[in-house]
C-alpha cells in the first residue's frame, strides 16, 4: 500500500529567529507549485529565545483527482527527510532525538554557536565541544551540509531565516526551482534585497562544496604579540615545551612593565627548567617526560599571566590605547563617517588604591580601612569618558605610574606569592612531574577584580595551604593520587563561586572542610506572632 510518501522537513531554530517566516516561504512555494503542503509548530513561550521547531510535510507530486493527503502533525524519529538547523547545538538536539537517520536524512546545519546560559555562566570554560557534535552529525546523517550561516547573514545584512531558506534550496532538497523561492521572497515585500542576497549566497554555498569548508573553520586567529628578535637567543636556552608561551610571555611583560621585568620572567622559567632536569636543547626536552613538558608549558603560561596581574595602572594603560578604540570601532561596526564615544564603567575600591601605593603607605591605608571596615566597600562608580580629553588624561596619568609599580604594595605581595608557588614547583618538578603539572595550573583560579579576585586568592591559598603543603611536607615525593586530588580541587574551585564545591573536594581528599560563610539572619518585628526561636535551614 502507501504509494506516494510525504516529504518531511524539520526546522530547528531559536525563538525570535524568524522560523515562522521561513515556514511561510516554504508553504507559498508549495502552493505556487500546486503541491499539497502542511506545516505545524510549537512556538508558545519558546518564542522567548528558547529552542523551538517547525515541521513541514508536502507531496513531491500532486495525488491526482485533487485528493488531499493526510499529513502528520509531528515529526516521527527516523522518518524525516531534511533536518534544517539554525545553530550547531540545535542540530545536535535533533540528532539526539533520533530525527537524523543515516538511511534517509539530509542534515543542513549552521556551524556557528549561540551558547546556552549554562555554558556561558561557568567560571572556567563550560562550552560544549563543537567537534563532537559535527562528528555525530557526520556519522548519523545520510548527507551533512554544514554552513557558516551566521557569517553569511551578517555579510548580507539579513536574518538567518533567509540564509536557511537558501541553504535548503541550494542543497537540492526542494521539489521546485530556485526561481520559485526567489519569487516568493520578493512577494513577501519586507527586506527583499538583503533577503535575496543572503538566500543566493547560502544557495551557492550549499550547492557547491564550499559548505564543507565551514567544518574546518573553527577557533579564532590568535593575535600573538611576538617577542622582539633580540630575545630569540635567550628564549632558545629554554626547553622546547616552554618556548612558545615564553615568547608570548616576554612580549606581554615588556608591554606590561619593562625589559628587566621580562628578563626576571625568563630567569624564573630557567629555574624551573633546571629543576626539571630538561636541558635547553630540544633533544633534552624530548627526554623530559610528557607531564614534565606539560608542567613547564603550563607554568610558562600562568607565570606570564600572573606576573602581568591587572591593577589600576594596567587597566588604565590598556583602556587608553589607540588600538583599543580601533578594536571597538571594528567590533561595534562603526562606519568611517560615524562618530564614536566610549564611556568606561570603573569602580575602584580602597583596596585597589592601596594596591598601587608604595608599600608602606599602602599598608597604612589598608590597615586603617580595615579598622573602619571600609576596605571591601566599593568606591564611587565612575562613568569615564575614555574618548574625551579629560577622560583620556585621567587614564594616561594612571598609566604613567607604571615605573612606580615595582615599589607598590600589591607588586610586593604578588611577587611573594609567585615565589612561593615557584618554590613548590621547583621541589616537585623532578620528583613528581604529574603533581607539578597539576600545580602549574593552580594559578588558573586567580581571576577578576574586587570580590571575584578576593575569592580567587582565597581559593588559591586554601588549596596551597592544604593539599600542596601536605604533599610537599611528606618525606617522600607526592604521588599521582596527590596530583589527581589537586586537579580535582582546582576544578571544584572553578565550579561555583560560593566555594562549597572546593570544600567538598578537599573533604574527599581528607581535609576537614570550612563551615559556610555566616549570613546575617534578618527578621522583622512581628508583634502578632513573634517567633520564640529563629530556626534557619541552610
Amino acid at each position: 500500500m502507501s504509494a506516494a510518501r510525504p516529504f518531511s522537513i524539520l526546522i530547528a531554530a531559536l525563538g525570535g529567529e524568524g522560523g515562522g517566516v521561513l515556514n511561510d516561504w516554504i508553504v507559498q512555494c508549495a502552493l505556487a507549485s500546486g503541491l499539497p503542503v502542511q506545516t505545524t509548530s510549537v512556538p508558545g513561550v519558546a518564542q522567548r529565545t528558547g529552542s523551538t521547531s517547525y515541521y513541514v510535510e508536502l507531496m513531491r507530486e500532486p495525488l491526482g483527482d485533487d485528493a488531499q493527503p493526510v499529513f502528520a502533525l509531528s515529526p516521527m524519529p527516523g522518518a524525516v527527510d531534511v533536518v534544517l538547523a539554525s545553530e550547531l547545538v540545535e542540530a545536535g538536539r535533533m540528532v539526539e532525538r533520533g530525527f537524523v537517520n543515516p538511511q534517509r536524512t539530509t542534515l543542513i546545519a549552521a556551524s556557528h554557536r549561540v551558547y546556552t546560559t549554562r555554558e556561558k555562566m561557568q567560571m572556567g570554560d563550560g562550552r560544549s565541544d563543537d567537534a563532537t557534535i559535527h562528528a555525530a552529525a557526520r556519522a548519523l546523517a545520510a548527507r551533512y551540509v554544514s554552513l557558516d550561516m551566521a557569517s553569511i547573514a551578517a555579510a548580507h545584512g539579513t536574518v538567518i531565516s533567509a540564509v536557511m531558506f537558501g541553504a535548503l534550496a541550494g542543497a537540492g532538497a526542494l521539489p521546485w526551482p530556485r526561481e520559485t523561492c526567489e519569487r516568493v521572497i520578493r512577494d513577501g515585500g519586507i527586506g527583499v534585497q538583503s533577503s535575496l542576497a543572503g538566500f543566493s549566497a547560502a544557495f551557492d554555498a550549499a550547492a557547491t562544496g564550499a559548505a564543507r569548508e565551514a567544518l574546518a573553520a573553527a577557533g579564532v586567529e590568535r593575535a600573538a604579540r611576538a617577542s622582539p628578535e633580540m630575545w630569540a637567543p635567550l628564549l632558545a636556552t629554554l626547553p622546547a615545551p616552554m618556548r612558545e608561551h615564553a615568547a608570548h610571555g616576554v612580549a606581554r611583560l615588556i608591554d606590561y612593565q619593562d625589559g628587566a621585568y621580562a628578563r626576571l620572567y625568563v630567569e624564573r622559567l630557567r629555574r624551573l627548567a633546571d629543576a626539571s632536569g630538561a636541558a635547553g636543547t630540544s633533544g633534552g626536552a624530548d627526554r623530559a617526560s610528557a607531564s614534565t613538558g606539560a608542567a613547564l608549558a603550563d607554568a610558562a603560561r600562568h607565570l606570564a599571566l600572573w606576573m602581568s596581574y591587572e591593577d589600576v595602572i594596567r587597566v588604565a594603560d590598556l583602556k587608553s590605547r589607540r588600538s583599543r578604540v580601533e578594536r571597538i570601532r571594528a567590533e561595534a561596526r562603526v562606519r568611517q563617517d560615524e562618530l564614536l564615544d566610549v564611556v568606561d564603567y570603573l569602580r575602584p575600591g580602597l583596596d585597589e588604591v592601596a594596591a598601587i601605593l608604595p608599600r608602606a603607605l599602602g599598608m597604612r591605608l589598608r590597615s586603617r580601612a580595615q579598622r573602619r571596615g571600609t576596605l571591601d566597600q566599593p568606591g564611587p562608580g565612575l562613568h569615564l569618558p575614555a574618548t574625551r580629553l579629560h577622560g583620556l588624561l585621567m587614564l594616561r596619568l594612571l598609566a604613567w605610574l607604571r615605573p612606580l609599580r615595582r615599589r607598590s604594595l600589591r607588586f610586593h605581595e604578588e611577587q611573594q606569592a609567585i615565589e612561593r608557588w615557584l618554590a613548590a614547583l621547583v621541589r616537585s618538578l623532578a620528583a613528581a612531574p604529574q603533581f607539578a603539572a597539576a600545580l602549574a595550573g593552580l594559578p588558573r583560579v586567580l581571576k577578576g577584580y574586587g570580590d571575584t579576585q578576593r575569592r580567587g586568592r582565597a581559593s588559591f591559598a586554601r588549596i596551597f595551604d592544604t593539599l600542596v603543603e601536605r604533599s610537599l611536607g611528606n618525606a617522600d615525593a607526592p604521588t599521582p593520587s596527590d596530583a589527581t586530588e589537586l586537579r580535582q580541587a582546582i576544578e571544584a574551585a572553578l565550579a561555583e563561586p560560593a566555594g562549597r564545591e572546593l570544600e567538598r573536594a578537599l573533604e574527599r581528599a581528607g581535609v576537614t572542610p570550612l563551615p559556610p560563610a555566616e549570613k546575617p539572619i534578618v527578621w522583622s518585628r512581628k508583634p502578632r506572632n513573634a517567633p520564640s526561636t529563629v530556626v534557619t535551614s541552610r
Binding site: M1, S2, P6, V27, Q38, T39, V42, P43, Q47, R48, T49, G50, P69, V70, F71, A72, L73, S74, M76, P77, V89, R93, V95, G98, N101, V114, K120, Q122, D125, R127, S128, D129, I133, A136, A139, E221, H248, A304, E310, S320, R321, R322, S323, R324, A332, D337, D344, Y345, R347, H383, L389, L392, R396, T452, I521, V522, S524, K526, T536, R538
Partner: protein, 715 residues
C-alpha cells in the same frame, strides 16, 4: 501587540467559494464569523492568543458586521460573558488557554451549564498538552463531564475544524448546552486551507439592538430550586437531544476498511498521527485510507452508545486511542458495551502509556501490540523495524554526542526590563542569604532558569503573593513574591493584595510593571501606557507616567509603596533590601518599572530606519567588553544571562578560559554596566555611543580631539 495581523484580517473577509490559507486557530476565527456570532471574548494565552488578537485588530470588520469583541480581564469574565446566550437567541464564543483558563472560568461555567442556553455558546480552548506546553498537564475533558458541557475534538485539518465550529453552534442550540471546542497546540498552529463561505450578520448585534430585555424567568436562574430541574434536564433532555444531533449531522466519522474484524476508536485530534502510524505499518495509503475500520470521534463528550456498540459489535477486539489521564472515554465505552452486552474485548491504556503526548511513534508501538494480540497474521515487520530503528538511532546518538547537547529553555529577551530586577535580587541574597521567592506566571518565571534559579513555588497566574501567605508566618526572613502586571490584573490584585491587607500581612510583593501581558504576545491591560505616551516615548520606556497600579494600591490602603526604575540595579537592590529588612509591619510593595523591550524596539526600529534614510542625526548605543582586561570569570553572565552577553575564545594565546563578549544584537539597555557597578565586578565594560549623520559642530570637535589624542595616545 507583538504581532500584526493585517494579512489575516483580509482573509477574515473572504466570501463563498474563495480559499482561505492560514493557521488552524485563525480558521476558527473565520468560522465564528461564518456562524453569525454576536459577541466574542476571551483571555490570551498560547496556543489560542491569535483568535482574539486578530479580532481585536480587525475592529472595523467586526463593527461592520455588528460583532462585539471583548478582550476580557480574565477567563472568568470571558466565561460569564456567555451568560448573554442564556436568555437571548444570540450566538457567542469565548476562548482561552486550557486547562488553567478553564480552572479560572469554572465558577461561571458551572452557573452557565446549569440553566443552559437558547443561543449557541462555544468555548474554544487551546489544549496546552505535550511538547511546547507551558502549564500543568491535565485534561479539559473532566470539566465537560462534570458540568455537562459538550466537548468537540476535531480532526486537525482545516475543513473539519471549520465544520465543527459551524455544527458546534447548531449542536449547542439543538441541546440548549454550551459547547467546548478543544484544539491541541499543533492543531492551533497547523497551516492549511479550506473553502470559505460568506460571513453571517447576527440578527441581534451592536447594529441590530434589542429594544426590550428578556422576560423574567426564575427557572433560567442557577438558583435553587431551579437548579434541581436543571440537573435533571441535563441528562434527561439535553444529552439525548445532543446525541440525536450528533448522529443526524454525522459529526463523528466512520472510515471503513477491509479488515472488518478489527477496529480503532480515536479522538479526532489524534487522527492524523494514527494515520501516520498505520502508514508506517503499510495499513494506510497517503490519502489516509485505512485497512482497519476507524471510528473518529470529533465529539468526545457525550458519546453515542448506539454508535459505539454498533461499531464494536462482532469485532475481535477494539483499540481506543485516548490521550492523557484518566481514561474517561475508555471507561465510558466499556460501560456502554457492558450495558449493551457487547463482549468485544477493549484495549487502550493497557497497551498505550497513561501519561504523555500520543505521537505517531507512541501510537505505532500501541498498534503493534494490538495487532500482535488480535491479528498476528497481519505483517508487522515494517512497523516493528521502524520502532527498533528509532531505539537504535537514539542510543547511537546519545553515545556519539556524549552529553554535549545542553538544554536551551526560554529566557528573558535582549534588553528585557525584568532581568535587572533579578540581578538585583541576586545581589540582595549576597547580603541577606537565600530568600523564599514565590514565583508567578509570566515572563518573569524565566527567572526559575539559569543563571537566576529563583522560585520555591508557582501556584498559578497572579497567585504568588497568596502563595506566600502561609510561608511568611513561619519564616524568619520575609519571603518575597514576584508578580507581573498581567498577573496583578488577572487575579493578583484580589487573591493576593486584598487578602494580604485584610490579614494585615507582613509581606513583600514585587510587581513587574512592563505595561503588557508580554509572555502571551504583549496584549494590553488596563495599565498599558496610552498610545500617545508611547508615541512620545519612542525608544524609551513609556510606563513611567502610567500610575494605575500605584493609585489602585494606594486606594486599597497599601502604606509602604516604592516605584523603582528597573535598569538602576543599585536602586532596585537598595529598595528590595529595605523592603526585606524594614521594621514597617504590613504589606510592602515594590513596583519595578520598565516597559517591555519588545514593544520599545517595535516602535524604535521604524523610527530609526526613517531617520537614517532622511539623513537625520541618529545615536545608537551598545555595550561591550575589553577582552584584554577580562579575566574570564563570567560573574557578569551569572548576574545577567542576556542573550547578547556571551563568551568567545580570547585572541590572547596565553589566556585559557573564554572571555566575555557582547554581540551586535545588543540594544544598549545598560544592564551590563549597571551590574558591573552594582556588583563591583570589573572594569572591562564599555558603553559605545555611535552617532550617524553627526552635526557639523560634532565633526569639528571630533577632528580637534583626534589631533590632541594623537599626541597623548600610544598605539
Amino acid at each position: 501587540m507583538e504581532r500584526s495581523f493585517s494579512e489575516e484580517i483580509r482573509s477574515l473577509a473572504l466570501g463563498a467559494g474563495e480559499t482561505f490559507h492560514g493557521e488552524g486557530i485563525l480558521a476558527v476565527t473565520k468560522a465564528l464569523l461564518q456562524s453569525g456570532v454576536s459577541y466574542v471574548g476571551g483571555y490570551q494565552g498560547a496556543p489560542v492568543s491569535h483568535l482574539l488578537d486578530v479580532m481585536v485588530q480587525a475592529r472595523e470588520t467586526m463593527d461592520e458586521l455588528g460583532v462585539h469583541v471583548e478582550a476580557c480581564a480574565n477567563e472568568a469574565s470571558a466565561a460569564a460573558m456567555l451568560g448573554a446566550s442564556i436568555m437571548y437567541p444570540v450566538r457567542g464564543a469565548v476562548t482561552w488557554k486550557s486547562v488553567v483558563g478553564t480552572n479560572v472560568a469554572s465558577d461561571a461555567l458551572s452557573n452557565l451549564a446549569s440553566p443552559g442556553v437558547i443561543g449557541g455558546a462555544m468555548i474554544v480552548v487551546g489544549e496546552d498538552y505535550g511538547e511546547g506546553a507551558s502549564v500543568i498537564q491535565e485534561r479539559t475533558h473532566a470539566f465537560a463531564m462534570k458540568s455537562g458541557l459538550w466537548l468537540l475534538d476535531p480532526r486537525p485539518n482545516l475543513p473539519t475544524i471549520v465544520r465543527m465550529v459551524e455544527r458546534g453552534f447548531e449542536l449547542s442550540e439543538a441541546s440548549s448546552t454550551p459547547v467546548i471546542l478543544e484544539l491541541r497546540i499543533r492543531a492551533c498552529h497547523v497551516r492549511g486551507s479550506f473553502v470559505a463561505s460568506d460571513n453571517v450578520r447576527p440578527k441581534i448585534s451592536t447594529r441590530e439592538l434589542q429594544s426590550e430585555p428578556a422576560a423574567f424567568d426564575y427557572d433560567r436562574l442557577a438558583h435553587p430550586p431551579a437548579t434541581f430541574d436543571h440537573e435533571r434536564a441535563k441528562y434527561e433532555l439535553r444529552m439525548p437531544a445532543a446525541r440525536r444531533y450528533i448522529v443526524d449531522a454525522g459529526l463523528n466519522e466512520r472510515f471503513d476498511g477491509d479488515l472488518g474484524e478489527l477496529g480503532i476508536v480515536v479522538q479526532g485530534g489524534l487522527y492524523n498521527n494514527l494515520v501516520r502510524a498505520l502508514q508506517t505499518l503499510g495499513l494506510a495509503d497517503a490519502r489516509g485510507r485505512s485497512r482497519i475500520p476507524i471510528l473518529n470521534l470529533n465529539v468526545v463528550y457525550p458519546l453515542v452508545p448506539e454508535q459505539l456498540s454498533e461499531f464494536c459489535a462482532g469485532k475481535r477486539a477494539v483499540l481506543i486511542l485516548e490521550e492523557g489521564q484518566p481514561e474517561f472515554i475508555e471507561q465510558e465505552i466499556s460501560s456502554i458495551l457492558r450495558r449493551a452486552a457487547v463482549a468485544t474485548p477493549l484495549h487502550g491504556k493497557d497497551l498505550l502509556p497513561m501519561a504523555g503526548e500520543y505521537t505517531a511513534e507512541v501510537i505505532l508501538s500501541g498498534l503493534a501490540r494490538y495487532l500482535q494480540q488480535h491479528a498476528p497474521e497481519l505483517p508487522r515487520e515494517a512497523g516493528e523495524r521502524a520502532l527498533r530503528e528509532i531505539g537504535e538511532l537514539r542510543a547511537r546518538a546519545a553515545d556519539l554526542l556524549g552529553g554535549q547537547v545542553p538544554a536551551r529553555p526560554p529566557g528573558f529577551c535582549t534588553g528585557c526590563p525584568e532581568r535587572p530586577v533579578f540581578a538585583a535580587l541576586k545581589l540582595v541574597e549576597q547580603d541577606l542569604g537565600r530568600l523564599h521567592v514565590s514565583a508567578d506566571i509570566g515572563c518573569h518565571s524565566f527567572a526559575t532558569f539559569a543563571p537566576f534559579s529563583f522560585g520555591q513555588s508557582i501556584l498559578g497566574y497572579g497567585m504568588s503573593l497568596a502563595s506566600s501567605a502561609g510561608v511568611r508566618n513561619f519564616s524568619a526572613k520575609r519571603p518575597i513574591a514576584i508578580m507581573g502586571d498581567g498577573g496583578f490584573w488577572h487575579n493578583g490584585l484580589l487573591s493576593g493584595v486584598t487578602s494580604a491587607l485584610l490579614n494585615q500581612a507582613d509581606g513583600v510583593l514585587v510587581i513587574m510593571k512592563n505595561g503588557y501581558t508580554s509572555a502571551t504576545g504583549t496584549q494590553e491591560t488596563i495599565s498599558t501606557p496610552s498610545s500617545e505616551s508611547r508615541r512620545v516615548a519612542e525608544g524609551t520606556s513609556a510606563t513611567g507616567n502610567e500610575t494605575t497600579i500605584e493609585s489602585t494600591l494606594k486606594g486599597l490602603g497599601v502604606k509602604w509603596l516604592r516605584t523603582v526604575d528597573n535598569y538602576r540595579v543599585d536602586d532596585v537592590r537598595k529598595t528590595l533590601h529595605e523592603a526585606l529588612t524594614s521594621s514597617f509591619d504590613g504589606l510592602k510593595v515594590v513596583i519595578a518599572d520598565g516597559e517591555c523591550q519588545l514593544e520599545r524596539q517595535r516602535r524604535l526600529k521604524p523610527l530609526r530606519a526613517r531617520a537614517l534614510k532622511e539623513g537625520r542625526r541618529v545615536v545608537r548605543t551598545r555595550f561591550g567588553v575589553d577582552e584584554d582586561t577580562c579575566t574570564g570569570d563570567h560573574s557578569c553572565i551569572r548576574l545577567s544571562g542576556c542573550p547578547t552577553l556571551t563568551v568567545k575564545t580570547p585572541a590572547d594565546p596565553l589566556k585559557v578560559d573564554p572571555v566575555a563578549h557582547v554581540t551586535n544584537d545588543c540594544v544598549g539597555c545598560g544592564l551590563c554596566g549597571e551590574v558591573a557597578h552594582a556588583a563591583v565586578l570589573c572594569p572591562s565594560f564599555w558603553r559605545a555611543e555611535i552617532v550617524t549623520h553627526p552635526t557639523r559642530w560634532e565633526r569639528l570637535r571630533a577632528r580637534v580631539r583626534a589631533a590632541l589624542f594623537r599626541a597623548l595616545q600610544p598605539a
